[in-house]
């Protein structure tokens, strides 16, 4: 029964839409309809009018209570319309029962259905309103009905507000999702979260001198202190660095001791030498990490310069440039690489692709990091398979191992962590490959265009990393090779003609790199003899 009625109504709706072809406009004229319905009421008999008002009251009271939050704001207007429709129907001498049935139906029915009815109601109303325009002058008499309706409206208001809020929640789940997840992430994340905001605010405030008693003298004192720091920073830092190196050297030496023995005393002597050398070298603007001048022992020197103040969590200005380990290298031919392994990132991939080192093994991936080298699988370029370096280096013995990593570390951790990890990796490799000579290759600088002092992607940072890794070169089985002078201009920027992106060399320039490596070869035999 109900269904039938619903379909009938739908049909009527269609009909109405066809006629007016604009249901929306009809809805907009709700006010008009109310008026006209009032007019209608007048035209029907007085007794019926009374009953109708009661009915209307009922339905209006029922609906706000029963209608759940899903019902949009419009529903109130819709209710008015629906009740108006009832009025009309009863005005057209429809049995009372049916009208009440309908009202109860409309209040309990789904949102969708109500909407339909609203439409229907409004379209039909429009018809009626047009029919009975002439009776609008008699409106006043029915004002009692109107006031009642508006009273009902007022009463329904608080609940409506609630539903409005629920409607907002219902209508923007995505906005809420983003806001909610963002809040969580910002509470948790160091990089984008509230901690970072606090940090940024603090630096801004310090810079603008808002923190502390901002008297001039105070500020001057602050500046003076900073300068002092800078002045004193030079020496202790480099000394500390040397200590690190020595520590490490003895660490590696300890391990060598097991193999070759009788190194301990020597290295102790070297430590003393080293300190002396440092004092001298500082004066000469040249600094040695490994001071021993023995035959077959390489020296890694540093060029000292005035470091810049860097405000970054990732790096600082090392104040020194590492130079290729000084050593009487021999010049070899391409066969030298038959037992060589290359470990590195996308730029080592470039060597693999374009330098023509067919015999060497390449373990590298774009985005490889020193932190990932032994933790994650690496692509073995000869087969394209992902392999575990831990396994490979334990199974296969190499004569030479070339490492170049550091570019992807520019914005990760900091230089101390980088050095620590580099040392860990080298110790590990030495353990597995006691016979191998390890070449620590300097990371190639970037071009002037790519150099960005506002981010951490710049040559000072690269240099910081290079200087750190160069400290690990001991001149006996670990050598530091700096290929940069071949490809950079006088300011240390990668020549723009040599690269598309300012980071990677064009394929044809890897030949130069290969020749450099061949000219800087260490005879494994020499090391073994020692």
């Amino acid at each position: 029964m109900k269904k039938k009625k619903a379909t009938a109504q739908k049909k009527r709706v269609k009909h109405g839409q066809q006629r007016k072809n604009n249901a929306k406009r009809a809805q907009n004229s709700a006010k008009q309809q109310k008026k006209s319905s009032a007019g209608k009421i007048k035209s029907s008999s007085a007794s019926q009018q009374k009953k109708n008002t009661v009915q209307q009251k009922k339905s209006n009271v029922e609906q706000p209570k029963k209608s759940n939050a899903e019902q949009p704001k419009k529903s109130n207007a819709g209710q008015a319309k629906v009740s108006a429709e009832q009025l009309k129907k009863s005005g057209a001498e429809q049995p009372k029962k049916k009208a009440t049935e309908q009202s109860s139906k409309s209040s309990t029915s789904q949102k969708h259905n109500t909407k339909q009815k609203q439409k229907q109601g409004s379209t039909e109303q429009r018809k009626d309103s047009e029919d009975r325009k002439q009776s609008s002058t008699e409106q006043r008499n029915s004002s009692s009905v109107q006031t009642k309706v508006s009273a009902e409206r007022r009463r329904g208001k608080p609940e409506q507000k609630k539903s409005e809020w629920k409607e907002i929640l219902y209508n923007c789940p995505y906005v809420l999702g983003i806001v909610f997840t963002s809040l969580i992430v910002m509470l948790w994340s160091d990089e984008i979260g509230f901690k970072a905001i606090a940090r940024e605010a603090q630096t801004v405030m310090v810079q603008s001198g808002m923190i502390g008693d901002s008297g001039q003298t105070e500020l001057e004192k602050h500046l003076l202190l900073e300068e002092d720091d800078e002045l004193s920073a030079d020496k202790p830092e480099s000394e500390a660095g040397n200590e690190d190196v020595l520590e490490n050297n003895s660490e590696i030496d300890d391990k060598l001791e097991e193999n070759a023995g009788k190194r301990k005393d020597e290295s102790d002597d070297k430590e003393n030498d080293n300190d002396l050398q440092n004092d001298i070298s500082n004066e000469e603007n040249i600094e040695n990490t490994e001071g021993a001048q023995g035959i077959g022992k390489g020296i890694t020197k540093f060029e000292i310069y005035d470091p810049q103040e860097i405000d970054s969590i990732y790096y600082s200005d090392a104040g020194k440039v590492a130079l290729t380990t000084e050593y009487p290298y021999t010049k070899e031919n391409i066969g030298y690489f038959h037992d060589a392994a290359f470990l590195g990132d996308s730029r080592t991939l470039g060597i693999s692709d374009y330098a023509g080192l067919e015999e060497a093994d390449f373990y590298c991936d774009s985005g490889m990091m020193i932190f990932k080298l032994l933790e994650e699988k690496v692509t073995y370029q000869k087969t394209g398979d992902k392999v575990d370096l831990n396994q490979v280096l334990q199974e296969k013995q190499y004569g030479k191992i070339y490492i170049m990593l550091g570019m992807n570390e520019l914005g990760y951790g900091n230089t101390e962590m980088y050095l620590e990890q580099y040392r860990k990796v080298l110790n590990q490799i030495k353990e597995w490959q006691p016979q191998a000579i390890i070449y620590v290759m300097a990371n190639l600088h970037v071009s002037r265009e790519k150099n960005n002092m506002e981010t951490e992607f710049n040559n000072i940072n690269i240099n910081d990393k290079n200087a750190a890794s160069a400290q690990l070169a001991n001149g006996t089985d670990i050598f530091y090779l700096d290929v940069n002078p071949l490809f950079t201009d006088s300011d240390g920027f990668l020549n723009a003609d040599l690269s598309f992106d300012g980071v990677h060399l064009y394929a044809q320039h890897y030949d130069v790199w290969r020749e450099f490596l061949l000219e800087h070869a260490v005879e494994p035999a020499e090391v073994a003899e020692e």
Binding site: C172, Y354, F457, H504, A507
Partner: protein, 473 residues
């Protein structure tokens, strides 16, 4: 500031939106203006002054155009016409003058110096202000509309300034006409649905930019890093295709983000792309690619010059001018001019011969477009003419140097990028947009978009610098 930066996503946008939603409706334009200037000023602390100056001058001139002296004189109409003309011409001279000095001075000076074989004109070496091509074009469109009388009354100062500097479209378009935003400028209601849909749209754009364009861009970069001229024909084509995807998703993503932000602010920013890569001819491609720029040149250059109504010779001349300008608009370099000329040639030929047939065909038109477009993008991408010639040679299997990037590399690239390539192909078709339209209100879409958003954020965090390709034009 770029949209795909943590600073924008987690600092600027939330704070701005909060203020924007809280303030009473009548102050929203001011908030929008101040916010936009801040947005611009963070990245360009000095050029923001240039922007403000341009806005002030243009506003003054547009006001002058509508200005009426009190006393009614007999030749009022004539004087008014002259006044309007003066205002328009000075606006054009100033706007294009600034653009010329910053964008084209060095290029022109270089050409003249080369011709004279000595340094006659000094180079200025000025940095290009962010988005200057876009906001200049918007101001010019406004002035011309004022002159033509399509605008009944001049915009208020705040409205005009907010229109020019509105941050969603300030730095990389779309190029909006004033009448498209004027009614919303006067008063707009921000509805919850708009906020929701706007943010969804923004996320889609962010995903296109960060998850597709940036990623496929590394393939193009890898190939170009090996060097144009060393490439096997297959690798050369793979690179061209990768770049075609990169520039499309980059720019489309940006436009979608602008649309989304516009929606969140209560505006309707016009669409800039309509699935250009499924076109059947190059003419159709340009009706679907960067629509607002094409519209600008059509309305303010091509039609005023007579369009195609003044005989075929004149049409060709008009097309030539339009395409030379379009090319140079994208950058002050020979390759951009060449790029524009390439389109001029193709479009002229298409217009006069096989164009219509292509657009009726089902398959040939698509193949034709998909072959030509990557070649044009290569011309667009490589600013060094020597390298450009070498790359174009590689595309046709002509090599002057030894091939260093061949099958082994191709295999590796495909192994690494095949998923991404398929995703790019899919998103270059109209289907994903249709799916989005159909499902955007479903609950699972909320989850999908949240995933896209946070994956994008993660990518942004990992890769620290990703400037938009389209920024410096």
């Amino acid at each position: 500031m770029v949209f795909s930066s943590l600073g924008f996503l987690f600092r600027f946008l939330p704070v701005f939106m909060l203020i924007y939603l809280i303030v009473p409706a009548k102050y929203r334009n001011i908030v929008l203006l101040v916010g936009s200037l801040f947005f611009y000023g963070v990245g360009e602390p000095y050029f923001v002054l240039l922007l403000i100056l341009s806005v002030l001058v243009n506003y003054g001139l547009s006001k002058y155009m509508f200005w009426e002296p009190r006393s009614s004189q007999p030749d009022r109409g004539k004087k008014r016409a002259r006044r309007r003309k003066t205002a328009l011409i000075s606006a054009l001279v100033i706007d294009f003058g600034i653009l010329f000095v910053f964008k084209y001075w060095d290029f022109t000076a270089g050409v003249i110096n080369d011709l004279a074989n000595r340094e006659t004109i000094p180079l200025l070496m000025l940095a290009l202000p962010l988005g200057i091509s876009f906001y200049t074009f918007q101001m010019v469109s406004y002035q011309i509309d004022c002159y033509r009388g399509t605008m009944e009354e001049p915009a208020g100062f705040i409205s005009f300034a907010a229109y020019v500097s509105m941050f969603p479209q300030l730095i990389a378009g779309p190029i909006v006409r004033y009448d498209e935003v004027s009614d919303r400028m006067a008063g707009r209601k921000i509805r919850i649905r708009d906020l929701e849909n706007g943010l969804k749209l923004f996320t889609v754009g962010l995903g296109l930019k960060v998850l597709l364009a940036n990623q496929i861009g590394t393939l193009w970069n890898t190939i170009m890093s090996a060097g144009a001229g060393n490439l096997h024909i297959t690798v050369a084509w793979l690179g061209a295709i990768a770049y075609s995807f990169q520039i499309y998703f980059d720019f489309w993503g940006y436009s979608v983000m602008a649309m989304g932000l516009g929606k969140m602010l209560g505006f309707r920013i016009p669409r800039n792309f309509d699935d250009p890569y499924v076109s059947r001819s190059i003419s159709e491609f340009w009706r679907r690619w960067h629509i607002t720029l094409g519209r600008w040149f059509r309305e303010y250059v091509y039609f005023p010059m007579g369009g195609s109504r003044k005989g075929s010779l004149r049409t060709v001349v008009n097309l030539f001018v339009v395409w030379a300008c379009t090319g140079l608009w994208h950058g002050a370099n020979w390759n951009f001019l060449l790029w524009g000329m390439l389109f001029f040639l193709i479009l002229t030929v298409e217009k006069n011969s096989y164009g219509r047939k292509l657009e009726q065909s089902k398959v040939i038109g698509h193949i034709y477009t998909l072959v030509i477009i990557p070649i044009t993008w290569v011309v667009f991408a490589i600013t060094d003419l020597g390298q450009l010639v070498a790359y174009l040679g590689n595309l046709f299997g002509i090599h002057r140097a030894a091939v260093m990037v061949g099958m082994p590399q191709l295999e590796r690239y495909l192994q690494q990028y095949w998923v991404l390539l398929i995703a790019c192909i899919l998103f270059a078709t109209p289907f994903p947009r249709r799916w989005y339209q159909r499902w955007k209100d479903r609950w699972f879409m909320v989850v999908v978009l949240l995933l896209i958003f946070w994956f994008s954020v993660r990518e942004i965090m990992v890769g620290s610098n990703n400037p938009f390709l389209y920024f410096r034009f």
